[in-house]
């Protein structure tokens, strides 16, 4: 306990985080997501990720469960055009039709960087080009990244990729350039149903903080010990 305490005091990022009045977190309400894909589109435009490059800072997944308990999941073209067909994308140009009467359960799950409290991507960066700032957001220094890809390998959520133009590691940063000025991230602003919300967990008056503290929320893949900071309402056990 003593060692943990000392470690917490003397690690500069921890001291910085401790002194900051903000810790950005995200709240996703899967019941509200309609799979329109506006969030993906807005993100790509805002953060200049080539639209059809096959990589994205955020995406939306669809889960369909049939009567036999089989789970089908896909995210066709990161859902940048939304889910325009009922067919499940199986890859390699194959699709599967699931008749509506066989579907027992179906829902959408938006995904974006978890801005983990203990980010494994930051741990493995050999040059310190990716780092966690005082507000808890994990950022990438494009001028210092050597492009080894170790962070991409280390993220259990598959959030990272090589930027197709800059050829350095890239990821969602909650639109830090916006939230730092009090604006919502592009995806939050574009969401027509309010399925995506950003908040400050250190602010007791923040509505997101209130929901996280008082309602049944869950985080994705807690078993990796990264302490993810995206809280989901209605996170199904099928979610991968």
């Amino acid at each position: 306990m003593l060692f943990k305490g000392l470690d917490g005091i003397f690690r500069p990022p921890d001291v910085l985080a401790w002194t900051s009045p903000r810790r950005f977190v995200f709240l996703v309400d899967t019941y509200k997501c309609i799979g329109c894909g506006f969030c993906v589109k807005a993100c790509k435009l805002e953060n200049e990720i080539p639209f059809d490059a096959g990589v994205s800072r955020t995406w939306v997944e669809r889960y369909v469960v049939n009567g036999e308990g089989e789970v089908f999941a896909d995210t066709p073209k990161e859902a940048r055009y939304g889910f325009t067909t009922g067919r499940i994308d199986l890859g390699r140009g194959k699709f599967k039709d699931i008749p509506a009467e066989e579907i027992k359960k179906a829902y959408f799950v938006p995904k974006l960087c978890n801005q983990c409290e203990k980010p494994s991507c930051v741990q493995v960066c050999p040059v310190g080009a990716t780092y966690q700032n005082a507000d808890g957001v994990v950022l990438v220094d494009r001028k210092w990244c050597i492009g080894c890809g170790y962070c991409i390998m280390a993220c259990p959520y598959g959030m990272r990729f090589f930027h197709p133009v800059h050829r350095v590691a890239d990821k969602c940063n909650f639109c830090y350039h916006r939230i730092n000025q009090g604006l919502p991230p592009a995806c939050v602003q574009a969401c027509p149903t309010g399925a995506r919300l950003i908040g400050n967990i250190k602010d007791p008056g923040d509505p997101v903080e209130k929901i996280i503290r008082t309602q049944q929320v869950a985080v994705h893949k807690p078993e990796y010990g990264t302490n993810p900071q995206i809280y989901y309402i209605g996170l199904g056990e099928e979610v991968r």
Binding site: F72, K111, C145, G147, C148, A154, G158, M159, E223
Partner: protein
């Protein structure tokens, strides 16, 4: 599209950003560092433990290890998306990363090997330097040779018995220090993979040990193979000359070669047993404990990667050469295919770890197939394709050819 989409084919449910990011060059990286470590361990068997039959191959293995060492960082450099920034690892090393200290480890190890080579060949360097110094009318090539050899003596021209005894002592100490560093260098490569908790196939504490054992196997096999080939070439040249002196050397070569090879084979088999046992232990343990990731791993191991793992790695790369090596009456003719297969098996092991570890999705519900770019469409597909891999594989031989000009190995008449 992103570059990685050129060699990645996705199937079923895979996250959008998932591709085979670590491709052929990251297969070459542990393969090459493994050869470095293995060659050094082989040379240390003589220099440290004094196993006499390995004397000739030990000197060769040491110099060859240095040639391999010069190539070891190149796959990483070719892999980097921003290779011009590679020195940042030295400028701002972030030591929580398993690859931050790679340069330091490689430099320390390189220094130990270079120092050992220097002590081993100091007498030879001094001899050449003195011979050429007294020679008048030196040709331009001899002038260069004189300068290179004189510089490499570092001014230590004393070759008295006492001084040479001190050299021998230094070699022993360096070989002793070098073995744990060589094992660390490659165990470290294993740790880079074994510590990735997001990857279900890689994450095992056995990974560094498996890597070290397979490294020794590959290094010993390659050194034996090259040794046999060079001795064969020398014998061919000697028999062509057809004179008495050459023929007596030929006889001497034959008896020395057989004794060296027989002893090396024993060590090769010993390390092969260790290596295969550890790999099988890992496989059995995963199957028995059957944690969440086992379903997809089982599909990869027994399904999509079955040919790569069981046919190419275990059968062709382990079992067949194992039988070839164990059959009584070992002949050089049988040894060559056996050693080639051992090397192929270790390469496939690296392939199955690096590519196999990325052939399933983080969703545990989808797969990725790697298609090695054969015909390059540009610099990137050359680097991350067959051409880049062959370039890396060929470079140690070129470096060795140059090193051999200064440090002549495999000369039977060379004194201790």
């Amino acid at each position: 599209m992103v570059l990685e989409s050129l060699w990645t084919v996705k199937e079923l449910f895979v996250y959008p950003n998932e591709y085979i990011y670590w491709a052929i060059q990251i297969v070459m990286y542990p393969f090459m560092t493994g050869l470095v470590a293995g060659a050094f361990v082989l040379s240390s068997l003589y220099h440290l433990f004094g196993i006499k039959p390995l004397k000739e191959i030990a000197r060769f293995a040491l110099v060859f290890s240095f040639a391999l060492l010069m190539v070891a960082p190149l796959p990483l450099l070719l892999h980097l998306a921003q290779p011009q920034r590679s020195l940042y690892v030295g400028l701002t090393p972030h030591f929580t990363s398993a690859i931050a200290a790679f340069g330091v480890v490689l430099f320390v190890y390189g220094s130990v090997v270079a120092a050992e080579i220097w002590f081993l060949f100091r007498k030879h360097l001094v001899k050449i330097s003195i011979e050429l110094k007294s020679k008048t009318n030196k040709s331009p090539a001899e002038k260069i040779k004189y300068v290179v050899h004189t510089i490499l003596t570092l001014g230590a021209m004393d070759v008295s018995d006492a001084s040479l005894k001190l050299d021998a002592k230094a070699i022993k100490v360096l070989a002793g220090v070098g073995v744990p560093i060589a094992c660390f260098l490659h165990g470290y490569a294993g740790f880079i993979f074994g510590s990735v908790k997001a990857n279900a196939l890689w994450m095992t504490p056995l990974m560094p040990v498996i890597f070290i054992m397979s490294a020794i196997v590959s290094g010993v096999a390659l050194c034996m193979l090259i040794y046999i080939i060079i001795m064969g070439m020398k014998k061919f040249v000697a028999s062509r000359k057809n004179d008495h002196a050459a023929l007596s050397t030929l006889k001497q070569m034959n008896s020395e070669e057989i004794s060296t090879v027989q002893t090396s084979v024993k060590y090769l088999i010993f390390f092969m047993i260790f290596s295969i046992s550890l790999e099988l232990l890992d496989l059995v343990f995963r199957g028995y404990t059957a944690v969440k990731s086992w379903d997809i791993l089982r599909n990869v191991i027994y399904g999509t990667d079955f040919i790569n793992i069981f046919l190419l790695q275990y059968l062709m790369g382990n079992l067949v050469p194992f039988i070839l090596l164990l059959l009584p009456g070992l002949k050089i003719r049988r040894l060559i295919p056996a050693l080639l297969l051992v090397l192929f098996g270790i390469f496939m092991m690296r392939w199955n770890v690096v590519i196999g570890g990325q052939s399933f999705s983080l969703t545990f519900s989808g797969y990725m197939d790697y298609q090695l770019p054969i015909i390059p469409r540009g610099l990137e597909t050359f680097k991350e394709g067959l051409g880049g891999a062959l370039l890396i594989a060929a470079l140690p031989f070129i470096f060795f050819w140059i090193l051999n000009k200064i440090f002549p190995v495999l000369q039977t008449k060379e004194p201790d």
